[in-house]
Subunit: 262 residues, 2 copies
Amino acid sequence: MSENNKSYIRKGQYENIQLSIYLDAKGHVLDLDLQHLDQAALTRPAITALIDHTLLKPEATKEQIRTLCEEALEYQFGAVCVNSCWTALCTQLLQGSGIKVASVIGFPWGSPVTAAKVAEARQAILDGACELDMVMNYGKLKSGDYTYVAHDIREVVRLAHKHDALVKVILETSVLSEEEKVIACLIAKEVGADFVKTSTGFASGGATVEDIALMRKVVGPDMGVKASGGVRSYADAQKMLAAGATRIGTSSGIRIVQEAMA
Amino acid sequence: MSENNKSYIRKGQYENIQLSIYLDAKGHVLDLDLQHLDQAALTRPAITALIDHTLLKPEATKEQIRTLCEEALEYQFGAVCVNSCWTALCTQLLQGSGIKVASVIGFPWGSPVTAAKVAEARQAILDGACELDMVMNYGKLKSGDYTYVAHDIREVVRLAHKHDALVKVILETSVLSEEEKVIACLIAKEVGADFVKTSTGFASGGATVEDIALMRKVVGPDMGVKASGGVRSYADAQKMLAAGATRIGTSSGIRIVQEAMA
């Protein structure tokens, strides 16, 4: 690759990781150069705080949600991430622990009408959630109805911020074109969301290093980027953090922490 | 099979079809005997009116929803079935046609908190839906929290019936045990829902003749039973109707009608 047909970005601000992303004139990611990670920056406490310990399959039972919370307490994960019908239970089980409850909204498709997402967000906040992982309406995005997509997110953000809750916007990157990923990030940033997040974990694909790097590039340094879907090992998590992620959503949090400590 | 260890039910009331279901002492379906169908009873107009012409994949675009409605107008399907964000568009496109708009609620997992389902139902009705296909919270069912499941459905039914809308409760039969299917039907009937419906079409399996017969047996003759998920041919549809279904949810409605006319 010659120096003439690439631009060069250096990201030193995430977890002491140095990353170079090579892009072509249209902003497509051509190559990544990840510097060796500073292991000290990713000790157990450091990485556990970045993990949303997640159980979202719809057939999950109360006992499995209880186990999720017990694991979160044992390993001191930053948050648990659950369907909204389990928010109140998690709040009760994690009371006083400092571990946050994240509720998904409009999950897993993003296709409920906006009023449903707002009502789900309102109830989740009442039930103790301080983080909302909402799915963008990507059917509307693919229809070119960006006004709808922006309004849909803005209404949830407005409610959440009134209550000091933060909003992560799930793009479902695996079903989007590169152009759609960029537009989705710009919309999420424009309407004041706190994070962009790659995936539900229930579509055709999950987080990739390339998508994380692209999302970080589009939203800039101040917004959160959450890698989710298929992040199953410490090596996976390291790559995502190196590429610009600031949060990891995974059901393999225990394995990741155990590998990090090994 | 001896006459001693089976019970025998004859169902003559559906579309002039005679069906014998053989059950063991515990009510498990052992065998079905479908009499030859009266073809005259399943002519194009008869079967088209029973079809909910369906497009639910989340990446569906405005153009695809528009096509769905045009097809419904051409073939005179009983209803279209869409995600709630498309209800208003379908209402507009089908105005004056007599074709109903069915909106899914809490789709495809049933896991949103009750307030979200009620708000989604309210908006869908405002947007012109007169049928609501809601997903039962089967995670709560599997947790034995029948009170939650009943309340969740009852709240949507109460709102819907105030506005003369009907409610179909999607059980997601493929992830339920036989006992759970029976309990789900009993709860749906108890709280006044209008239909039980087998499947979302997005889980591990769809409608089966055995499940339709079981559901019909549990809910009795007065409630609707909708077969959905994997009903792709006229032969499939005939089997479902013969087993006790009174509505067919499918994205293969055109093929079914064409086969029926052939």
